[in-house]
Subunit: 359 residues, 2 copies
Amino acid sequence: MNRLGRMLLCLAAVMLLAVPALAQEQKVRWKLAMSWTSTLEPLSQAGPWLAQMVSDMTDGNFEIRFEGAEKHKAALGDLLDMVRGGQFEMGHSASYYWKGKDVTTTFFTTAPFDMTAAEQYGWYYYGGGLELMQKVYSKFDVYSFPGGNTGVQMGGWFRKEITSLDDLKGLKMRIPGLAGEVFAKLGVNVTNIAPGELYTALDRGTIDALEWVGPGMDIKMGFHKITPYYYAGWQEPASELQFLVNKAAFDKLPKSYQTVLTTAMQAIALKMTAANFEANARAWEQMKAELPTINMMIFPEPVLKAMKAASDEVLEGYAAENAEFKEVYESRKAYLVTARPWTKVSEQYYLETADVVSE
Amino acid sequence: MNRLGRMLLCLAAVMLLAVPALAQEQKVRWKLAMSWTSTLEPLSQAGPWLAQMVSDMTDGNFEIRFEGAEKHKAALGDLLDMVRGGQFEMGHSASYYWKGKDVTTTFFTTAPFDMTAAEQYGWYYYGGGLELMQKVYSKFDVYSFPGGNTGVQMGGWFRKEITSLDDLKGLKMRIPGLAGEVFAKLGVNVTNIAPGELYTALDRGTIDALEWVGPGMDIKMGFHKITPYYYAGWQEPASELQFLVNKAAFDKLPKSYQTVLTTAMQAIALKMTAANFEANARAWEQMKAELPTINMMIFPEPVLKAMKAASDEVLEGYAAENAEFKEVYESRKAYLVTARPWTKVSEQYYLETADVVSE
């Protein structure tokens, strides 16, 4: 072997030995679909936040590209199937969008007259909530993780004040989900109208009322300019967003990347909750400035009590025919028995105290 | 050069070239000191949670060992110095423990009649809070990060009911920090007693009242067995814990490890908040079971208003002589003007609604 031959052999040996060391940095390319368009802040920040964190933690080796609804064009409820099928390894969405496929999933967002955000995080981490969520989602071959909370969603915009149960009879209202079922029981004519047509429908009186989200989202729709009655929420006291992850894709990741991902999602849940708080607080301030006569109303006591009774009836109905629904429902009710008395003497008493001193 | 010589030369070249590839997995060994003993759950879980997450995310290459107060034996207020001096690269503590060194740091925990936890996270992430915190801490050459919230802390245990401002005059009470200054202005004889002696002092009437934390911590002290009046909180509406990081140590980390660390701390803040909620809710339930006659009281209106006036006086006093204090104080007040109206129509109205339907 001549000198050049020896050098080449040596170089080959160097490369052979160096490559496994470099290969420890496993390259992973994933795609995440969001239920929101890329401009619907703060919800749409889930994608870029996750992509940046995960990339930074892995020196760019674990890359997550994200798509908003304007690109993948799938309906809200189809996101679960896209992640299940592996077209996207991940999604950012809300669990109650596939109520039609599996009604139990609604609980992982929120339910009428149910927990506040703090209570619900207590349930997720210490009341068996995370375990129940994985159990329910295992049939879809995906994992689900908390993805930030929107806080209390408002009860909706009404053209006229609701003074009694009679005012609900025959009222035409756009309100989806469990809350729609509850209102239907109280005689409301529950309708479905495309988001783009809502403003006109409300303005022209084609509908009498609608529920959208909360100030942060509602302000973009302009409802406050045409409807003076804004009702406090009861139907979604703490809507949790979620990350969905394809089970097979997650299980194949190196353990370090699995923890990178779960840690990033948990960190984002905190910031997303703060982002929603901020957006709602700023928008509520702006709405009041633009429309000083805006009325934030609480439904009258007989209406609230009828809504609670109808809500119990709806939930008990599902529980009677669906053992898994019953299991999650009872787990949440049990946690609330422990949680709410504490919420009351801590947060609620403090807010009442603050009211007294600000008078 | 003979055959053996050539092989050795080649091996040396292999090692020389392979080492930089392997060295990408930089080994880092850090120490974290906690202000709490290792058994004071849930606070003491900050250390093990962080160590596990960071190790898992880096394949064991970034290792954080943690020590509780039973080992490092430093006083609460000395933790800042230990992290500043580099004896520990990190700490988990609460910012108001070094009020004596820099009174402005108290704001990063909480302040009397100030923000709730949700409001404060809004301020940290979107109201300039994180930036102000780094500014204040830059003089100590450390970074500070949110480390989880304890929720509302209780107003304390009182042997007798407080019916008027007169009942506060001459009252002997253990209550530290800004709240102690407020009570002192109202004629309370504020004393300091070692934690180990508090139960006996309260039982024998050496003191008439004391403030500790909230149900989760208080239950271990047994105060509910000897004191029937437990007052709702006003002085610490949302005490945020914190991670401290030595600036030079953090700046030297590879960028990927910096993000691993900041992401883990943010994720822990969410879970620690849930853990405190859970601990308080369970303990409050247990206290009521053990002592069904326990009274959760709200101070009477004239007392609350006097406390608010005294609190404003204390804070304005510091603001007048300390520009940095004034800057943070005004930033928080401004955020609350936007935040509280939203808290009121969302969380507070919802809790009132839930009260109505549960009657």
